[in-house]
């Protein structure tokens, strides 16, 4: 734990694309326990996610750096997760951002489609809260702390 604490000042920014406020709350709670919650940016659908990444619309005045990792739900209003993933992985400026699909669905089709589009990890949210907390924590710690993000990513 102390290891993580000492690296706190190097935490990457986490973009969480999640439309369900309960999932957002539970995820943030899980990340809070490990002091990872502060750098989480939450957007609620695919359009917002792309706006954030392209610094447009309501996100026109945010910084120019990419997030260290994107936690992406698949079932989203307006533009769904797979579509967002496709945009990210086909854009030269964005495709280096690690994307973790974090979804309720255990559907093989979704998994295959995600990997084909170049997703970096595919995680099914466990029903068990402990498992869920562990999954979120490990993702946060791995992608935002341990993993060295590609150049141009936002670091604190």
């Amino acid at each position: 734990m102390t290891t993580y604490m000492t690296t706190t000042n190097k935490l990457g920014r986490i973009l969480m694309v999640e439309d369900d406020p309960k999932d957002v709350e539970l995820s943030l709670t899980a990340l809070e326990e490990y002091n990872l919650a502060n750098e989480v940016v939450v957007v609620n659908d695919g359009v917002q996610a792309l706006d954030y990444l392209y610094h447009r619309g309501t996100f026109a005045n945010t910084g120019v750096e990419n997030p260290a990792v994107i936690l992406l739900d698949l079932k989203l209003p307006r533009i769904d997760g797979l579509e967002v993933l496709k945009h990210i992985k086909s854009d030269d400026k964005l495709k280096m951002i690690p994307v973790v699909v974090l979804t309720s669905s255990k559907e093989e089709n979704d998994m295959v489609a995600s990997y084909k589009l170049g997703v970096n990890a595919y995680v099914v949210k466990p029903v068990d809260f402990h498992d869920f907390v562990n999954a979120i924590r490990e993702l946060g710690v791995f992608w935002a702390v341990i993993n060295e993000p590609p150049p141009g990513s936002m670091k604190r």
Binding site: D20, K22, D23, L26, T29, K75, T103, S104, S105, K106, E107, E108, K125, P126, V127, D128, F129, H130, F132
Partner: protein, 499 residues
């Protein structure tokens, strides 16, 4: 005179020379008698004609031999009875004209007779030849009539020249009615292609076959499979078309029915595909939408437990625990149901799989469940199956896991995996245990989804394992069944194809 006493057949039995001699002697005797009677009672100079008559008869029927014999006999008799001096055989020059007349007459009649015989002989031969031809033709015609196939012949103008009984039976027109008629207008033939093309092919290859629609005499339609053969004469000129027909109306009707059924089947299968898609969407929705609220229930309950554990009394904490447990259980039910439905949808990849190897792999998967247990394993010789490796392994994992689970109360569990004789093309494998068993009257419930014969606090589980086993085995075209008794163990059998 004796000849008349003989039965006719005996006369017929005699050889031709004997018959000729008899005839000559008889006719000359009659001539002598007649000449004597004429000479004595009626008039002189009338004795020659009876002799001429006898010579003529003998020459006519007795041929050359009879003619000579009759000539000699009549000369002698005439000389003896009617030439002076009477009752002597002396011959004078004045008698010679008579003998010459007899000789001339005899040779003339013999000549006529010979000519007649020759003509008769030729006539007879011609008749015989004709009879043979007629017999052949009659036989051919009756053979053509014997066949049930419809056969008719028409000339190049489509005028019917021959019409067999099969044609009568099929079209209802008799041969008398059909012969001489134009076949296309008589039968209202509908050709599958322009007639010019059909005739062109017939002329080029000498044959044509195809399906024709025609009308019977009663107006009903008939579809025939028709074969045409072109007949050419010695000068290679097309002279006639021989056509054979088979009634395929029933076959065509059945084909149309089958086609209709196929269309119906295609429609049904499209519908089924749609239903399947809906089901998949449903499964997706179950997977995605139902799991999320469950996760939230479990998540918030745990957060509540953490925050309020000190505030709540024992009961309150128990209630929260129950909410969390129920959410988890429902989560695993949904997961099991989804993997069960996935087995039904997954493609099978069939290869030859050794059941012994599968048992080994399955055992390593369930190893964890055997920890701290005393289990006596028995393995018999196991067959090869032709099936999907990972699915069949799942069958064995489920059966072994069940055997381990339901022998939990035994101080020493005994589990046997063996093979029982299967029917042709399939093999049977069984897993037997000495566990708690089951009541045979509930045997039919064993393989149902979420069907459980034990209480949850006795043996954990969702009740999907045996349903999965059955689904996999049914997908392989095999059977599953079980034998057991309460507290007397259970044996689960499954069969699967070996090739």
């Amino acid at each position: 005179m004796r000849g008349e006493d003989w039965p006719k057949d005996r006369f017929a039995e005699m050889s031709t020379p004997v018959r000729a001699c008899s005839l000559v002697f008889f006719s000359i005797s009659l001539a002598v008698g007649a000449a004597l009677v004429l000479d004595r009672y009626i008039a002189h100079d009338l004795e020659v004609p009876p002799f001429l008559f006898a010579v003529a008869v003998s020459a006519w029927y007795g041929r050359a031999g009879g003619a000579i014999l009759a000539l000699v006999l009549s000369c002698i008799s005439f000389d003896y009875f009617f030439v002076q001096p009477l009752h002597t055989l002396s011959v004078s020059a004045s008698d010679l004209p008579f003998f010459a007349i007899f000789a001339g007459f005899a040779s003339l009649v013999t000549w006529f007779s010979a000519i007649r015989r020759k003509v008769e002989e030729e006539l007879r031969r011609a008749r015989d030849r004709l009879e043979v031809v007629v017999a052949e033709r009659t036989q051919q015609a009756s053979l053509l009539n014997l066949t049930h196939d419809t056969i008719f012949v028409r000339d190049m103008n489509f005028v019917i020249a021959y019409w067999n009984r099969g044609a009568e039976d099929l079209y209802g027109w008799s041969a008398e009615e059909a012969v001489g008629k134009h076949s296309t207008s008589l039968l209202h033939t509908v050709f599958p292609a322009p007639l010019e093309e059909i005739l062109a092919e017939l002329m080029r290859t000498g044959r044509w076959d195809g399906e024709l629609q025609r009308s019977k005499r009663d107006g009903s339609h008939v579809i025939v499979s028709s074969r045409w053969s072109l007949q050419r004469n010695d000068g290679d000129r097309a002279t006639a078309i021989l056509e054979t027909n088979n009634d395929i109306t029933d076959r065509k009707r059945r084909e149309r029915e089958i086609e209709g059924l196929n269309q119906e089947l295609t429609k049904r299968s499209t519908e089924l595909e749609g239903t399947n898609k809906e089901l998949e969407a449903f499964a997706y929705s179950v997977s995605h939408d139902l799991r999320a609220p469950l996760r939230h229930m479990a998540g918030y309950s745990e957060l509540l437990q953490k925050r309020a554990a000190n505030v709540l009394d024992e009961k309150g904490n128990h209630y929260i625990l129950m909410v969390i447990e129920s959410a988890k259980r429902m989560g695993s039910l949904i997961d099991d149901l989804l993997s069960f439905s996935r087995i039904g949808r997954a493609e099978t990849q069939k290869t030859l799989v050794n059941a012994g190897q599968l048992v080994k792999e399955a055992l390593s998967e369930v190893r964890q469940e055997t920890e701290g247990r005393d289990i006596a394993w028995t393995f018999g010789a196991l067959p090869d199956f032709y099936g999907d490796r990972s699915m069949l392994r799942l069958v064995l994992v489920n059966l072994l896991s069940n055997a381990i689970k339901f022998t939990r109360n035994r101080p020493r569990a005994e589990i046997e995996v063996g093979s029982a004789g299967g029917q042709n093309g399939e093999a049977v494998v069984f897993v037997r245990d000495n566990g708690v068993g089951f009541d045979m009257q509930y045997a039919n419930k064993l393989f149902g989804v979420f069907q459980r014969l034990h209480q949850a606090n006795e043996f954990e589980g969702t009740g999907i394992g045996l349903a999965t086993v059955q689904r996999i085995i049914h997908r392989h075209g095999g059977r599953v069944w079980a034998e057991g008794g309460v507290d007397r163990g259970a044996t689960f059998y499954f069969s699967a194809p070996t090739q």
